[in-house]
């Protein structure tokens, strides 16, 4: 009788992460851990704490495994993808003299560091992206931000960066550093970002 109860207890244990058809594990991030929502078979499960796992059973339903995966088990099972994780991108934010296409002096100095960073990466690609704030004329802002981005690109090339790895765009006001209401000036948003991947 006792043995039968013990057997039933094992059978009743929800699917363990290691035996599931599909497994998802939320990882810690720089700003906390964010969240993932797993949907399947008409069901959904939100997970928002780091190292939590979701195991999808044979019916396709996402579940929290009763017996979760330890951090060591996760790292071991996913060792190949974790070992192959590319280096995080580096973003340098550059500001300009008011209304001009000239970098401020501190920005010029940091650009030199960026060139070293590009050299340091295998298979780099570099985005030079102009941004505006939400004040003033949209077309003029876009034009100025593009010219600024092109000026930065030209500086990088003049310092030996292969132009083939550089792409130049403008995000206009769509990707602000500091979100604002429309028509609000915000100098911190009037910038060029150089992103090295």
């Amino acid at each position: 009788m006792v043995r039968r109860i013990v057997t039933l207890c094992f059978v009743a244990v929800a699917v363990a992460a290691c035996e599931a058809k599909e497994t998802f594990v939320l990882l810690p991030d720089e700003d906390g851990s964010g969240a993932i929502e797993v949907r399947g078979a008409g069901s959904e499960l939100l997970v928002d704490s780091a190292w939590s796992a979701v195991a999808v059973d044979d019916e396709g339903v996402p579940r929290r495994p009763l017996l979760g995966m330890s951090r060591a088990a996760v790292v071991s099972r996913f060792s190949a993808v974790l070992d192959r994780q590319p280096r995080p991108p580096h973003t340098e934010i550059l500001h300009f003299e008011t209304g001009a296409v000239t970098l401020t002096a501190p920005a010029r100095a940091r650009l030199a560091d960026v060139v070293v960073m590009i050299d340091d990466r295998s298979y780099p690609d570099v985005s030079v992206v102009g941004h505006t704030d939400r004040a003033g004329d949209l077309a003029l802002n876009l034009e100025l931000s593009r010219r600024r981005a092109e000026a930065v690109r030209d500086l990088l090339v003049s310092r030996g960066v292969d132009p083939e790895v550089i792409s130049v765009t403008s995000h206009g006001e769509s990707n602000p550093l500091v979100p604002t209401e429309d028509d609000v000036p915000e100098p911190r948003n009037r910038r060029v970002e150089v992103i090295v991947r």
Partner: protein, 163 residues
């Protein structure tokens, strides 16, 4: 109490070089030129054998190659690869994995944002980038049984192959 998982060791073989031979009746893809405007990401890390399928051709992928929207990536038992996309989204896949780069749009000034992957089998690491930051709802990772939505984050996924 739990049976221990048996984890396979990843073979640390050298990456294969891309083949550029064109033979009669059978054409291999050439690597995507860097100035082709349509590329969406670049291979940063690679071990073992990794294939890319594009426009009906299948070729060996190398570190430094660029990938395009619609590419299928497939690894054998030794392969793994890491890719960084234009918007800083990062993924890597492990051995015995098959993945489709199903959707990619990154033009914030034109309100074009989208990122979608289909993980058919294998393992995946996903780290969110600017697309997820600007529009979390624009990101989707699909597996045979599930759809995963993200809120600016990183996660791992494992899909057992159909037996």
């Amino acid at each position: 109490m739990l049976s221990r998982l048996i984890f396979e060791l990843v073979c640390r073989s050298k990456a294969a070089a891309p083949f550029l031979i064109i033979a009669a009746g059978f054409q291999l893809m050439t690597p995507l030129p860097a100035d082709a405007a349509d590329w969406i990401g670049r291979v940063k890390t690679l071990e073992g054998i990794v294939y890319v399928e594009r426009d009906g051709s299948r070729d060996i992928l190398s570190a430094g190659d660029r990938v395009m929207l619609g590419d299928w990536l497939e690894t054998d038992g030794s392969g793994s690869v890491g890719i960084a996309f234009r918007d800083n989204t990062i993924i890597s896949i492990g051995p015995r994995t098959r993945l489709l780069l199903r959707e990619y749009a990154f033009a914030p000034a034109d309100d074009q944002l989208g990122f979608a992957l289909d993980l058919v089998r294998g393992t995946l690491l996903y780290i969110s980038g600017i697309i997820a930051k600007l529009l979390p709802d624009a990101v989707e990772v699909r597996t045979p049984a599930s759809t995963v939505a993200v809120r600016g984050t990183r996660f791992l996924a494992a899909v057992e192959p159909e037996s």
